[in-house]
Symmetry: C2
Subunit: 424 residues, 2 copies
Amino acid sequence: MSLIVQKYGGSSVADAESIKRVAKRIVETRKAGNDVVVAVSAMGDTTDELLDLANEVTPIHAPRELDMLLSSGERISMALLAMAIKGLGHDARSFTGSQAGMITDATHGAARIVEVTPVRLREALDEGAIVIVAGFQGFSRESRDITTLGRGGSDTTAVALAAALDADVCEIYTDVDGVFTSDPRVVKKARKLDRITSEEMLELASSGAKVLHIRAVEYARRHGVTLHVRSSFNNSEGTVVYDPERLPEGEAVEESVIAGVAVDLGQVKVTVVGVPDVPGAAAKIFKIVANTNANVDMIVQNVSAAATGRTDISFTVPKSDGERALKALSDAKETLGFESLQYDDQIGKLSLVGAAMRSATGISAKLFEALYEAGINIEMISTSEIRISVVTRADSVNDAAVAVHRAFDLDGDTEAVVYAGTGR
Amino acid sequence: MSLIVQKYGGSSVADAESIKRVAKRIVETRKAGNDVVVAVSAMGDTTDELLDLANEVTPIHAPRELDMLLSSGERISMALLAMAIKGLGHDARSFTGSQAGMITDATHGAARIVEVTPVRLREALDEGAIVIVAGFQGFSRESRDITTLGRGGSDTTAVALAAALDADVCEIYTDVDGVFTSDPRVVKKARKLDRITSEEMLELASSGAKVLHIRAVEYARRHGVTLHVRSSFNNSEGTVVYDPERLPEGEAVEESVIAGVAVDLGQVKVTVVGVPDVPGAAAKIFKIVANTNANVDMIVQNVSAAATGRTDISFTVPKSDGERALKALSDAKETLGFESLQYDDQIGKLSLVGAAMRSATGISAKLFEALYEAGINIEMISTSEIRISVVTRADSVNDAAVAVHRAFDLDGDTEAVVYAGTGR
């Protein structure tokens, strides 16, 4: 008998009909002879509605109370889901994060999982019940309070449960058919991948692919959890996210050179103009930026103009961090001795990801050529072992993705089907 | 420094604006130098909306899951209320029933409080915080599950907290100005009472007065908690529900003969026609009714007709219990040997309640005369030490209340203001 962990996002349980459909799918998995543990998000827009209510009541959100408020959303969906399954004649029990033993630190709104002690879940499984767990939430032993995990929380709950229960697979049900070679809304001929390595998935997720949250992928990778991304709206096979090193012997998989092309429109570029070209100048700048908790992604330093002894340093950060970084630098203008600051929120980032990039050659040349032929200007470049990223103008990054996707022979024969909405 | 427990019902926290208004009132109580503990219901129609969702998902409601579902309503309101208070610059902390130490048995949907261990509430009070507790919910140590208290739950939560924390008073905020001599929607000249004994309140509540739930009044009486019923929509003085035996010395209160007139349209009359008039016949009938958990209120047995050796026995039960009782009796027709059953759902019950009735004379004569003059027929009569109840046709019970209210000089000078809606 296998143990399968499934995660259903908010769009999969948006209303009573959806909950009934998901209940049927869970029961089918159970009937196929598996133990089933389900992590579920809040219904549809519940979380946003609760946040709206909080904003109406007060502009200041006490983090402890906000977690108490938001965590009620999953209690509603999990209880309804358990009821729906019982209505189908199968035993089901729902558990809050606290009851499920999802122990976190006390950081409200972005709690880290410190331990998972699924004693009650094991008991329920032993008694033959289907187990439903509230995603996104945990419990701090330190503060004795309810916490929430923040972005990607429900995915992370599912992965953490799979790891703690030593599940055979963790199925992430979502509103798309799986992981695609690119965002099907941007690249119409994007192909669904049958398999992708966890390393590639990590790079894609951190490069703007939204199907899985980077945190859940990291957790899965660290604990050797195999992920299976599937649609809750049909029965297609989805995408398996696996660790090649943990493959059963003989099951070697030939890796494609390129797994996918990701687009990220969520970054801004800050340029510090006229920085004195002396040792330590860059260090000082990025220390100040780091102190604002801004997450610096790409960095480019121009070649110094010998005549002036000054240089320009550009970097990208998420839009939400941009103004904070700008203000901190502006406040330190005299200390840093630069001339001016530029802020550019019209950039797009395109990333090419593939595990076989390690050994393959000519990838970057091919990328640059494709962009050149499409008439797209490259403003910044950065690379990792299995990724190349370039920054372009925001309004040309989608065209860039289509061109690159074609150049690397990723195009499928048919157009991908796109569904609306995303889960928490 | 006094410790004041306040309870706000669903209509008092129906939306963000109401929550802000309640927060201000709580802060005023705090500023007046009191420690404040608040029990709060779910917002407005939340509970009904959650029940609707449950019905859409499945007709079979697993009690454990239903409690999990419904208890989320108070988590929302309590977190929002705590946030609103913090927004006003005062420290506030919200606690679930479980966190507040509201320990119950494991009867889902109608859990009984077995113990209140408000350790965390005391800690929060010691640290100067205003404490907000989810009404209606508790936690079973036995099943380790969340429970709900059922009808009157939030009132009971407030009273139980007041008892456990030895509060000076338990203020029940509602959408009416206090306890009235009769339902102001029925008797326009009903007067608000400044004081009423807990014994009278208990009789009124069990006779159909809806302002306080009988269970909360009983709990308050048993634990010596003084209740103060007030409107959350204005600052009028409300009604104090007190125990005369616990009054401070010298503070004797002259009791009025009649505290109020209650009307109950929620009962039905079942008549067992042609019961053999032999010893034990009534006992057999009411044993069968009791086995259906029907709550028998009034019983009338006709004088036996000597010629037939048969008699009729009528009793009243709450509408929700009526059909169950009827079916059980019908199933036992042969054993009991009666001729037929009659079911009458067009009855109304009027009750006259007053502590001084014990010593006063002529009360029932005056009641019957008032009804006679108003042309209203009496079908059944029952009495307790401080109450007389009569059953009339449903469509004349309101006229009866007006007539009796006037006959006992209870009419006020002005018409009472009536608000819509009631809390959980």
